[in-house]
Amino acid sequence: MSAITLTDVCKSWDDFEALKNINFTCEEGKLLVLLGPSGCGKSTTLRLIAGLESPTSGSIRIGDRDVTNLPPVKRDISMVFQNYALFPHLNVAENILFGLKARKVNKAEQEKRLKDAAGILGLDIFLGRKPAQLSGGQRQRVALGRAIVAHVPVCLMDEPLSNLDAKLRQEMRQEIRSLQQRLGMTMVYVTHDQVEAMTIADKIILMKDGGIEQHGTPAELYNKPATAFTGNFIGNPPMNILKPTKEMLSLCNTMIPDSVRGEKLLIGVRPENIELREEDGCEVTVVATEYLGADTLITCRVKEQTFILSRQGRLVFSDGETIKVGWSLEHTHLFNSADGKRIELQGGGK
């Protein structure tokens, strides 16, 4: 029993409201990613679950226990920190066993768990080294080792990969994911990197300004963004959010049902869903093209608004050239321009 449930959790410092009415559940054995730009409250949420901060109001449950007022050690959690939090004066083995020593686990058991963790993480030959003698990826593994030997059902991760280079980050996130599944841990993982979130999460919670924008599977966040912010945050390059000026409306004239015509709208469309058309497309001006190898990104302009479209392969346009583009109804996302909320198309799209 290690599901994590937050109910009406608020946190404020003096007059700054860091979290406003947070409600969510992370199911047992699942990996939940808290995603968002810096300052959105995702780390604060994690620290509340860990017990390093206490909420101003609301309650936190882990499994069937209310842990709102318990100190971290009584919550049966392990935590991996952004800068790994390795003690520079202790070697790898001592660092991994730090928590077990503090909890007075017996020596034989310590040895056994250390051996298991070192085996899983490939740290056997480094056990005698000091953190300063390790590379970034190895330090990350030691930090993971500390979480593994704790043998607790909940693991909290605070941007664990942000100090690694891109290639290592990819390796490590796969490793973390497979570790989480193999050990059946309930994991809450904080990151600002949407690619990381999309690739490892069972569920993602996207946060903004201390509130939850959307809670769902990666596919839901991608295919059915609940707000314009979500659409723009998830996906690379981000979703184009366009204002319905006269030109833009004429560009997608056929695509907006009359039922929502009257409202103030934002039109969202993903770059990969914009097609190049021969005949019935609308004319736009190419501003720039970027060739990425597998894809080409083409930045286009209609009057004051620019948007990006992405096509596979290599396409060559000269700047200032006029091309015809369009997109189909099922790829049109409509948002209310006042609050950014999604407007469902009747009978349209998925």
């Binding site: 860990a50 017990g51 390093l52 100190p71 971290p72 050690v73 009584k74 959690i77 392990s78 935590m79 920190f81 952004q82 800068n83 939090a85 003690f87 520079p88 004066h89 730090f98 928590g99 503090a102 909890r103 500390r146 704790a150």
Partner: protein, 284 residues
């Protein structure tokens, strides 16, 4: 392509840099020599008969006679023991008191924290000599006149130590503390397992400063002690300089060499560690 004749700007820069470097080295040598000459003189005079103490002759006869005479003049083993007790006691008390004070200033929030810390800093700005009379009165009222703890008491809650350790504790990343908290380590455990080991170089550097200061301290021990039982080396040494016993440079220097020898040997042995600690702890 060869550069044109004459000095290019880059060459000029290199020459300027070399000159500056040269002047710096020369300055360092002069300062070093200024510091070292009295030591050389002390050694020279201590190991030669009195008639050579102020004139230099390369092959002057060596002698240990001065040491033997100085040793006989005063109870040196007792003084040495007193000084050793004194510095050990002060250092131990300082480590305990300063560590606890610095920990509370560095990590906890309490009412009046800033005022208290300002008071601690204020103590740094008062010369200990100013408090000579007041301290004497306090010690006297405690009935501790002429004892070794009396010499140490005024220095135990060292403002310098508190300040130094607080600075060093403040550089320790909060993440490490939180990692320990998650594992259930208590506040005292965090001090002992996280803060103290990570501030090791500061402790070494501060220990060196403290030991050498109290080994050499003179005025306060002179005022507060009267008997052989409590006098440290420096005060004991002073009787050699007293007019009634006459000024015998050979004996004074021999006694001085004996006084500073333990520190000098310790410094030479641990020189590398000391220098590294100072680099780490930012005291220069």
């Amino acid at each position: 392509m060869t550069p044109p004749a004459g000095l290019g700007s880059s060459q000029l820069e290199i020459i300027t840099m070399k000159t500056v470097k040269g002047i710096e080295t020369l300055g360092a040598w002069i300062l070093g020599a200024l510091w070292f000459l009295p030591v050389v003189f002390a050694f020279w005079s201590a190991f030669h008969p009195a008639e050579y103490s102020t004139n230099f002759e390369l092959f002057a006869p060596l002698t240990f006679d001065n040491f033997v005479r100085a040793w006989g003049y005063a109870p040196f083993p007792r003084y040495l023991l007193n000084t050793f007790f004194l510095v050990t006691m002060i250092l131990a008390a300082q480590f305990v008191l300063c560590t606890l004070a610095a920990y509370s200033f560095a990590r906890f929030n309490f009412v009046g924290k800033n005022v208290l810390f300002a008071l601690v800093l204020l103590q740094l700005m008062i010369m200990p000599e100013v408090l000579l009379v007041e301290n004497y009165r306090t010690i006297s009222s405690m009935g501790l006149l002429d004892t070794i703890p009396a010499i140490g008491f005024p220095y135990m809650a060292s403002a310098f130590g508190i300040f130094l350790l607080r600075q060093s504790f403040k550089t320790i990343p909060n993440e490490l503390v939180e990692a320990a908290q998650v594992e259930g380590v208590s506040a005292i455990g965090i001090l002992w397992k996280v803060y103290v080991p990570l501030a090791r170089s500061t402790y070494i550097a501060y220990g060196l400063v403290s030991v050498s200061y109290h080994w050499n301290n003179f005025l306060w021990p002179l005022v507060i002690t009267q008997s052989v039982n409590s006098r440290p080396l420096t005060v004991g040494l002073a009787i050699f300089g007293a007019p009634e016993s006459g000024v015998d440079w050979s004996i004074i220097t021999a006694a001085t060499v004996m006084t500073m020898a333990p520190l000098l040997i310790a410094f030479i042995l641990f020189q590398r560690q000391f220098v590294q600690s100072f680099m780490h702890s930012g005291i220069k």
